[in-house]
């Protein structure tokens, strides 16, 4: 018995044992999907949040439009638009040599999730930067710091601490919504579970999947709380 069949054997569930390996490799795909999208999304969001606040007027309007649009439409719809919709222009993608990207459901899911989470993270970071008191900017200015230096050494470190909790929530939300990747034929944890159910008609497999998701979310929530406590240990009020 390989290790991935063990949990199923332990709880005495035949389905969970039979599909354990598929489900755990699905879990791996879920992890990759979430990790790549959240990290890429964060990198994009930092740029967009700064643009939104300090960029030229037209860029501010553009970023605002982007976040409003992608926060105002369902992720499922965005995913279908990218996977099916952009896949429609196969000849064009083949011409520009990008067909390998839009052909793969995994890459499409990463793209959709990244675009989506970047929109949410931009708003989180914007809020965090905006709630830094003005005196911090003025203080930095009076010390002769350049705008970029102010942002990098004075504002961002404080804003990141404020953004920590909502960013943790965003990570958890992304793990949860990653389940819809299974609807574009991707065998993530949800996809593997759907397959197991379709073949066995044993509903308990969904409950085991729910338990795995729940454990994942709870572990992340607790670790994140610890990290936050550690990073804010210099602050008197906590």
């Amino acid at each position: 018995m390989s290790w991935c069949e063990f949990p199923g054997w332990l709880v005495g569930s035949e389905v969970f044992q039979n599909y354990g390996c598929r489900m755990f490799s699905g879990l791996g795909i879920t992890f990759q999907l979430v990790a790549i999208s959240v990290v890429l999304g964060f990198a994009i969001a930092v740029g967009l949040a700064i643009t939104r606040l300090y960029g030229p007027r037209w860029a501010q309007v553009a970023v605002n439009g982007y976040t409003t649009f992608f926060r105002g439409t369902p992720l499922l719809c965005q995913l279908f638009l990218i996977y099916y919709g952009l896949g429609q222009f196969r000849l064009f993608w083949q011409d520009v040599g990008l067909w390998w990207f839009f052909r793969e459901p995994f890459y499409c899911a990463v793209l959709a999730f990244t675009i989506n989470t970047a929109a949410y993270q931009t708003e989180i970071l914007r809020g965090a930067i905006q709630s830094i008191p003005r005196g911090q900017f003025e203080g930095a200015l009076s010390l002769g710091l350049h705008r970029w230096a102010t942002l990098r050494h004075v504002i961002m470190p404080q804003a990141m601490i404020l953004a920590l909790r909502p960013l943790g929530n965003e990570l958890i939300v992304t793990i949860k919504v990653s389940a819809i990747a299974s609807l574009v034929t991707l065998f993530d944890l949800m996809g593997a579970t759907r397959l197991a159910f379709a073949r066995s008609f044993d509903l308990s497999i969904y409950l085991y999947a729910a338990l795995i998701y729940l454990m994942m979310v709870e572990v992340i929530r607790r670790v994140w709380d610890r990290v936050e406590l550690r990073l804010t240990r210099h602050m008197a009020l906590r």
Binding site: R71, T73, C77, L81, Q88, I180, A210, Y213
Partner: protein
């Protein structure tokens, strides 16, 4: 290009009417879920603040579970789970034929349960913001516990909770897209079918995006209006309290 746009119209071979019906289903399920989810959320919130340790524990477990499990999974579990349970009950009662779960009800229950878990957090926050003195004063005036809640606490509660509940509504509106997987003919379901028939996914999913976006914009505008109205007595503090 124009002949493609005709696919969205109401003429021969146009999907306009079907899309409208889908939009109607989306709005219906969101509106049907809302009161159910919010009321259940308030009950859970009261459970979290109750004196009984068991109730507190139960409500915490409830919110942890339904906030932690993906909505899609909750939807499947409720759709198939209730179906199987009721089917067994159906057979036990010796009723003829088969019981089949209406997807609308399954979707409503699943989305409502998730909404209640998330909205209970908002309710708890709002309940905490209302000082004990309000309840004490109400009881000093001879109001019963239920009366005090209905006449004194609730009107203040709703004002504080509104921004958070408005957020919950926006999330719910987008989550309704998931019910298409249990064959409820909402916008996503219709556009998916239109895609199968016409092979024009970009056009149809793009149209679906715009419909959802319009709903979101209208909701945001409406919520802003309602919030401004509930805050009208608080203009001195700078208008809307966040």
């Amino acid at each position: 290009m124009l002949d493609k746009l005709a696919l969205l119209g109401f003429g021969q071979g146009g999907w306009g009417l079907a899309l409208l019906q889908g939009a109607f289903i989306t709005i219906s399920i969101a509106l049907a879920t809302l009161p159910f989810g919010l009321a259940l959320g308030l009950i859970v919130a009261l459970g979290k603040r109750s004196d009984s340790a068991i109730l507190r524990w139960l409500s915490t477990v409830y919110t942890t579970v339904f906030r932690g499990v993906p909505e899609l999974l909750t939807l499947y579990i409720i759709y198939f789970g209730i179906q199987i349970l009721l089917q067994e009950l159906w057979a036990k009662l010796g009723l003829p034929g088969n019981f089949s779960m209406p997807p609308f009800v399954a979707g409503m229950v699943a989305l409502g349960v998730v909404l209640s878990a998330f909205s209970s957090e908002v309710w708890v926050g709002a309940l905490n913001s209302i000082q004990k003195g309000q309840r004490e004063a109400a009881s000093a005036l001879g109001l019963s516990k239920a009366q005090a809640f209905r006449l004194v606490v609730f009107p203040q509660l709703i004002r504080v909770a509104l921004p958070g509940l408005g957020n919950n509504w926006m999330v719910l509106l987008k989550e309704t897209s998931l019910v298409s997987v249990i064959t409820l003919p909402d916008i996503m379901f219709i556009t998916t079918r239109a895609n199968v028939v016409t092979k024009e996914p970009f056009l149809f999913f793009g149209a679906a995006m715009l419909i959802y976006f319009a709903f979101s914009l209208i909701s945001a505008w409406g919520l802003g209006r309602v919030e401004a109205r509930t805050n009208r007595g608080f203009a001195a503090f700078g208008g809307a309290t966040r």
